[in-house]
């Protein structure tokens, strides 16, 4: 299992080093083991440098940068070991237009192999979807589905 963890870590790290600069349109990032001598107990650290900036303490990143870095890592784990489906609840909320369109582009690529469910308030994210499920509460406190669109 030490070996399996090491392999998983290396595979995820390899993806992360590609996906981060894709989503950020530049910059670089990698994962590091906090204690490479102890593979059973070591933690995993993120080092990230958005384009034009220097590597700094992750807390200093902006709200949108943190969200996009998190997405990059999650997609990296995903590409290492695809899950059958993926639920994303308002993950696109903090992203500006440019980051949003690269995020949606990546989602599109991954969606060949994985079924994605996204909750979003963003019109552009809605346009990206293959299917659209509208939920409302026209009767007091009662949810129902009001519209479904399947793009053909």
């Amino acid at each position: 299992t030490k070996e399996r963890f090491r392999q998983a870590f290396d595979a995820v790290n390899e993806q992360f080093q590609e996906i981060f600069p894709f989503l950020f349109k530049g910059g670089e990032a990698r994962l590091e083991l906090t204690n490479a001598q102890d593979l059973l107990e070591t933690g995993v650290e993120i080092l990230a440098r958005p384009p034009g900036k220097r590597i700094q303490n992750m807390d200093l990143l902006s709200g949108g940068e943190k969200a996009l870095t998190a997405v990059a890592l999650i997609f990296s784990i995903f590409l290492t070991k695809p899950s059958p489906f993926c639920l994303l609840d308002e993950v696109d909320a903090p992203l500006d237009d440019a980051n949003l369109s690269r995020f949606n582009e990546m989602l599109r690529k991954l969606s060949d192999r994985t079924q994605f469910f996204v909750v979003t308030h963003n019109k552009r994210s809605m346009q990206e979807a293959d299917s659209l499920y509208g939920v409302t509460m026209e009767d007091a406190g009662t949810s129902r589905v009001v519209s479904v669109e399947f793009m053909e």
Partner: protein
């Protein structure tokens, strides 16, 4: 193992049976604040065996049963049914011939719980076992709840390690 269909009855803000037919690709769930979108995702996590009430925004599991609105009385049971395609042979060997896996979870106000796989009664552990090691199980990297997206970045190094282990 795609989700083909989801049926929600009496779970949170869905007192009436609501059926979702899902397709491959990207499905967007949209609507105004408070209309029930996150509740749909929680229904999926609940039928897959979610037991942590706090991650269902609740204090006790009974809170997930529709507890009434201005115009409707509470109901006595929450039931969610999930139908998955058995494309990667994820079903237990006894069900290897099925094209679909149907998982049902039911909770009554008195606390009684039922679990079924393909309409056969089973235990909670049988349901969670289906998703072990798939990325949508307990330490899921493929389920991001509202407001949690930067968890991965803000997490302690030991917590982040757990996510990587899921990919091992």
């Amino acid at each position: 193992m795609n989700i083909k269909r989801l049926e929600i009855l009496g779970f949170k803000s869905f007192p009436d049976k609501t059926v979702f037919e899902f397709r491959p690709g990207i499905t967007a769930v949209v609507g105004p604040n408070g209309c029930g979108k996150s509740n749909v995702f929680e229904a999926i996590r609940w039928v897959m065996g979610e037991q942590r009430v706090r991650s269902l925004r609740s204090k006790k599991m009974e809170d997930v049963i529709f507890n009434g609105s201005e115009t409707r009385k509470p109901v006595g049971m929450a039931e969610v049914r999930l139908v998955l395609s058995n494309s990667e042979g994820l079903a237990p060997p006894s069900m290897a011939d099925y094209d679909e896996i149907m998982i049902t979870r039911r909770l009554f106000r008195d606390g009684e719980s039922h679990y079924e796989i393909n309409n056969i009664s089973c235990r909670l552990a049988d349901v969670t076992d289906l998703f072990l090691d798939t990325g949508v199980g307990r330490n899921s990297y493929a389920i991001i709840e509202q407001g949690q997206v930067d968890f991965v970045v803000a997490a302690k190094p030991e917590e982040r390690r757990v996510l990587i282990e899921e990919a091992a």
